[in-house]
Amino acid sequence: MANIQLKHINKSFGSTKALKSLDLEIKHGEFFVLLGPTGAGKTTTLRIIAGLEKPDQGAVFIDDEDVTNLQPAYRDTAFVYQQYSLYPNYNVFDNLAFPLRSPIRKISQSEIQTKVQEIANLLKIDDKLRSSVTSLSGGEMQRVAIGRALIRKPNIFLMDEPLSSLDAKLREILRLELKRIQMEMEATILYVTHDQVEAMTMADNIGVLNQGMLEQVGTPAEIYNRPCSTYVASRLGSPRINLVPTSLFESEVLPPGTTTLGIRPEDILLKDNHNHPSSKQKSAMTWVDGTVSSVENLGAEIILEISVNGEEVQAIADPEKNYNAGENLELSFLTEKALHFNQDGQLI
Amino acid sequence: MYALKSVLALLLFSTVTLTGIVAQDRYITLGWAAWDPANALVELSKDFTKETGIEMRYEFVPWPNFADRMLNELNSGGKTFDVLIGDSQWIGAGAVYGHYVKLNDFFDKEGITMDDFFDPTVYAYSTWPKGSPNYYALPAMGDALAWAYRKDWFAKPDLQKAFNDEYGYSLGVPTTWDQLYNVCKFFQGRVVDGKKRYGVAINTERGSEGITMGVTAAMYAWGFQYENPNKPYDMEGFVNSDRAVEALEFYKKIYQECTPPGHSDAYMEANLDAYKSGQVAMQMNWYAFWPGVNKDPDVGGGKSGFFANPDQKAKGATLGGQGMSVVKYSDKQDLALQYIKWFSKPEVQAKWWSLGGYSCHKSVLNDPGFVNSQVYAQGFLDSMGKVKDFWQEPTFVELMLAMQKRVHDFVVGDKGTAKQAMDKLIEDWTETFEADGKL
């Protein structure tokens, strides 16, 4: 296990700049998630660490050693892909054994046998060892792929959206298991995803990438609660954060320069015949009028889209209550829960 | 990977087995056309191997490819052949470009003299420049274009009567081209022995030399000349003379009116085929084939007669035949010369004739028994007495191919007039001679 440092990495493909002076540090035993939309530079970062891509500028350190010019084979990383991770010309056993058989590793046949067996047991695929990989289901394939990464206990696991090709239910299960395995093995994982739920639920630390630049690094709670920019704020949380002009809640006392307020939907309070906030809360709030424009019942909660002075605001409401489109209500929020952003979208 | 490996293994294996084949040392390779006389030569040469211990190998190339193949070989300096029996017209190129070994010294040393050989054959098959005492080949196979006819049909009384009714003279061997035409026309489409027959099979082939060899047979009979006898390479008025044009038109008339359907690209084999299968009453072909025809189960055994090229306004016959040369690029010239020495012996020449080869040796031809030894022997002598040959220039092939095209386009391709064809031929030939520096 090792720590990883990227220093001032620049990388361009033709005229597009994939990474712009990226600095990143991943500590030993950390589950680090790089979050960003397609094209943000997540995968490029991963490939630079693996050695599959060379940075135009900057250096990569693994365990404080400069590996920028080292071939992938000698970096001892493990890569798990979204798909195509398994070699279709080998069966499950051979796929698992493949990294161990590398000529630079010189591991005896019997040792390989034991190690494969161990990993197969851990991942509950021991009954599939002799199957051809093409006969496996999607979930089993991804287990084998993760197993092949685990088997040689590399410096670092690099995972490129490994769960995104699976269906929702399976994703939920593997998410949980992957986190458990990482904790038990104390593995260092750099995990790339565009799915904020995966990032929030698994990461020790999240790095939010935007157009080749790292916007913010922090624990899920830090990033959720104190996003440094409107970009980061809107990447996390479902339903999305409300970013509204300050004019909407005029009476607020705001820090100078604030142009946008960020209020999470769950922090919007509703005052109507259904809702009675406590008197202590009441004092800190300004109430405005709004009209329900649509109601989305997700079962466990209701998402109300409320139109306030021409702005659409989303709020989470109790599913027990009955709302109808066109209904008028008053809404507010707790001052301390609001995030203040300036003109450039930066947190004040 | 296994597939790749096995392919590689197979490749190696086949290469190894192949290289194993080439081993022997004392042998020579003789190249000739694939036809009946070649088989006779194989039979004849068994004696040579017996005498000298030198093994003989052969490469007989089918006629349509013969010139192509051999000239390719010579032009690329190939060592495949030691002895080559090549067409008379190749002598020029063989001598000028040094493909053939000049044989004068060898003849002198071994006491072989060209005086022992029939003069027209020496002139045609072995000298360059023509008629000079520079010998590049030993006359090996005398040949000329002649005709075979169905003697058995000609003898049928009902046909004789019908012919007489139509033409006013009796059906027999034609002595002029007019008569030849009458006979052809008579048989064209006639039912004989219950089957539909056609007049004649003549040369029409485009690819090598076929139609030229046929057309010149007619042209010579009309008195055709290639050039002004007083001014070499002056062709205007000779090549496209009225006689030449008339002969060409006559040939086309025969082609259009008297040949079997589809006879548009025929030379030796096709003519033989048509004749042997009973399609035609007559065929044009080389003497070389007559022994085979005479022995043929269907048309041989007296059913066929043979006659020399008929005359019209002049005497003439198209020369065929070949001389035997030693290839300059050969590594075994000594062995090859040994073979030529053996072949020139009178007793070998005599056996050569008896096996079906056409000897050019005077001891054979002047033998009193010669004329009666075969039914076609007299004709052969007659023909050889009046043969004429095509250009024997080093640029022979270009000249030949030009004539092939012009003549074939007119006769078979039905393009333009005879005069135009001959005019264009002069253009082509002039171009060639100019490029060669002769004009």
């Binding site: 000529p103 | 192949l18 039979e43």
Partner: protein, 318 residues
């Protein structure tokens, strides 16, 4: 509208009537287009006389004459000579004797056939070997002027053989390569290489890079990854390419007729020159043709799934 009138499950599928009529037309076309091939096989079992009989014979007494003629050289002999020979030992000798001939030796056909095999396999191996290397590089690496290089490679295939043959003939004459197996192997490799590169590049493009990258991360070099991961996966493609190269080399005529004469001559220029007793020996030619074409037909049937890519340089895939 009643239920019976519609039998197909989807209204867009062709009705069974239209399927049947399509099938009938196709079958008729198929029969017509197969007549030459069937006729060829039949002719190979005819006697020389039956082969040229009029009207053409559909029912005939099968004879192996054509096949015997294909493999032997014969010479016609007089009856007396034949009588003087010891009785024939084999069935084919007997057959030849019955035509008043004796076997003078084996024909050249087998040699030409072997030449076809050697040159075919040799050039196929070379072009697939070099082609897969080049195809991998073109598929994976950034190469300057890649598109131009690829077009250049492709264009070499399109050149008319006759046009290229002139300088090649002269070059080979200088190098002593004319009429040699090696010369023909190099030549056919050159022609096939473009097909091989294009086809194999197509196959390799379809193998996701992730596979070899995973292998490289797993501790293998790029070359090992190519060898262990890419090649095995491209195996069907390689096999298909190999067979296409083989078929090309097998069928090629123009170069063969211009650059080979005897030593290295392949079958296509030879078969038309099979001579019988005066004229073309059709049953022998038919036999040679059958023997020459059957391997290709078998390949075609086996390979039908890959056919399309091969014949169009991989432009169209199924």
């Amino acid at each position: 509208m009643s239920e019976q009138t519609i039998k197909q499950t989807s209204p867009l599928e062709p009705s069974s009537f239209s399927r049947k009529s399509a099938a009938i037309i196709i079958i008729i076309y198929c029969i017509i287009s197969l007549i030459p091939i069937v006729w060829m096989v039949m002719t190979s079992f005819k006697s020389a006389n039956d082969a040229v009989s009029y009207p053409p014979l559909v029912y005939f007494d099968p004879s192996l004459e054509g096949w015997v003629n294909l493999f032997t050289q014969r010479s016609r002999q007089s009856q007396e000579y034949l009588d003087s020979l010891p009785p024939p030992e084999t069935w084919y000798e007997e057959l030849v004797r019955s035509r008043q001939m004796v076997i003078a030796g084996p024909s050249r056909f087998l040699g030409r056939f072997t030449n076809s095999l050697i040159i075919g396999f040799g050039s196929t191996f070379l072009s697939v070997f070099l082609g897969s290397l080049a195809a991998y590089a073109f598929s994976r690496f950034r190469i300057p002027l890649k598109d131009d290089l690829l077009f250049f490679i492709l264009s070499t295939r399109m050149f008319p053989p006759i046009a290229v043959a002139v300088p090649i003939f002269l070059m080979y004459r200088k190098l002593g390569l004319s009429d040699t197996h090696l010369g023909m192997i190099i030549l056919y490799t050159m022609v096939n290489l473009s097909l091989a590169v294009w086809l194999l590049k197509g196959f390799m493009d379809e193998i996701p890079r992730e596979y070899e990258e995973a292998a490289m991360v797993d501790g293998y070099t790029r070359f090992q990854a190519f060898y262990k991961i890419v090649l095995p996966q491209a195996m069907t493609g390689i096999a298909a390419t190999a067979i296409f190269c083989m078929i090309f080399a097998w069928n090629e005529y123009a170069f063969a007729v211009l650059l080979t004469f005897s030593e290295a001559q392949t079958a296509p220029p030879f078969i038309p020159t099979i001579i019988g007793e005066g004229g073309l020996d059709w049953p022998a030619i038919a036999s040679g043709t059958v023997m020459f074409l059957v391997p290709v037909m078998i390949f075609t049937v086996v390979l039908r799934k890959h056919l399309l890519r091969g014949i169009t340089f991989g432009a169209v895939r199924k």
